[in-house]
């Protein structure tokens, strides 16, 4: 019983860790005329800046946006504080 509980706890923890969504905030631009935006996006793969960069570059290119840089990656806790700044680009891409 004791082992079972322990293993359940470990499983539960692992599950929450796996479920913890990964987000990244980034900066992008468009040329002629120069337009800039700051946005927040959900990252599907590894939760690293490098992976976020490759993923976002592809996604943004669809709408002719050019990715400039990814600031950092974070989970749900970081979403709230960035919502205002991202504005219309909050979780758009």
């Amino acid at each position: 019983m004791k082992y079972f509980l322990l293993s359940m706890t470990i499983l539960f923890l692992a599950a929450t860790a796996a479920q913890a969504a990964c987000y990244a905030d980034y900066k992008a631009k468009q040329d002629d005329p120069l337009r800039l935006h700051y946005g927040v996006a959900l990252i599907e793969g590894d939760c690293t800046v490098e992976n976020a960069e490759t993923e976002l570059t592809e996604r943004l290119a669809v709408d002719d946006w050019q990715m400039l840089n990814v600031l950092e990656v974070f989970d749900e806790d970081g979403l709230q504080e960035r919502e205002d700044s991202a504005g219309e680009y909050y979780l758009r891409y």
Partner: protein, 242 residues
């Protein structure tokens, strides 16, 4: 006729065509120099003027480097900055065009200026030659011991009597005096002019005129080149047969 004997006398004539050729060369070189200098200036101008995109790049750099510049209002502000920069770069390119037009103008003006300058120099030289060659006397030098008179740069040999007459006339001219025939005869012979014949002075004048006029005409028209022969001393381009 032995042509190989001795050195040929260097021609003391300056052909108008010759100076025109050197002039043309100078003009061509000058024009090429001016055009190339201004071309280089134009190229440098176009290179050194800031790129139209410089402002945008600067704003983008600002945006990337500052992590705090994420607010909506700040981003809008940055975009406005970039737009005003682009507007300014449009102005710059119009300036560039104006400067280019001015460069073209200055090229044309400099080319015209150098052409006129060279023409002026050539004209001056020709004028000098014309003055020296013409009948107008701008120097008269009498050498009494050699019995020669230099009119402009031509040397004329005269008889002793003719030199005497010419000297008397020259002295009288310097004092702004007019001499009659008898006065001339009087001065030369040393007798009072009242005792002298008017006709004797006239004869002296006639001899002087004949001798000087003859030589002058020969120098100006029919040239005698020593040991070679005679030649008309005129440009061959001006001869025409009817």
């Amino acid at each position: 006729m032995d042509c190989k004997k001795g050195k040929t006398v260097p021609a003391n004539t300056t052909s108008a065509i010759e100076s025109r050729q050197t002039g043309n060369r100078v003009v061509t070189a000058g024009i090429i120099a001016i055009v190339s200098i201004l071309m280089i200036a134009a190229v440098l101008l176009f290179i050194s003027l800031p790129d139209a995109n410089a402002f945008n790049a600067r704003v983008e750099q600002l945006f990337v480097e500052n992590d705090t510049l994420t607010g909506n209002a700040e981003i809008k502000l940055l975009e406005i900055l970039a737009q005003s920069g682009t507007a300014f770069s449009d102005t710059l390119s119009s300036y560039r065009f104006v400067i280019f037009v001015l460069l073209v103008f200055s090229t044309a003006l400099l080319v015209a200026a150098i052409a006129f300058l060279v023409m002026l120099i050539a004209m001056n030289r020709r004028m000098g030659q014309i003055e020296r060659k013409g009948i107008e006397v701008n120097s008269l030098l009498i050498s009494r011991d050699q019995n020669t008179v230099y009119l402009n740069n031509f040397e004329f040999k005269l008889t002793e009597a003719a030199i005497e007459t010419l000297s008397v006339l020259a002295e009288a001219r310097m004092d702004d005096e007019v001499l009659s025939g008898s006065e001339i005869e009087g001065v030369i012979s040393g007798r009072p002019s009242a005792d002298c014949d008017e006709a004797a002075g006239a004869t002296r004048i006639k001899r002087l005129r004949d001798s000087l006029g003859n030589q002058m005409m020969s120098e100006l028209l029919v040239k005698n080149i020593a040991r070679r022969g005679y030649m008309l001393a005129i440009d061959k381009d001006v001869i025409r047969m009817v």
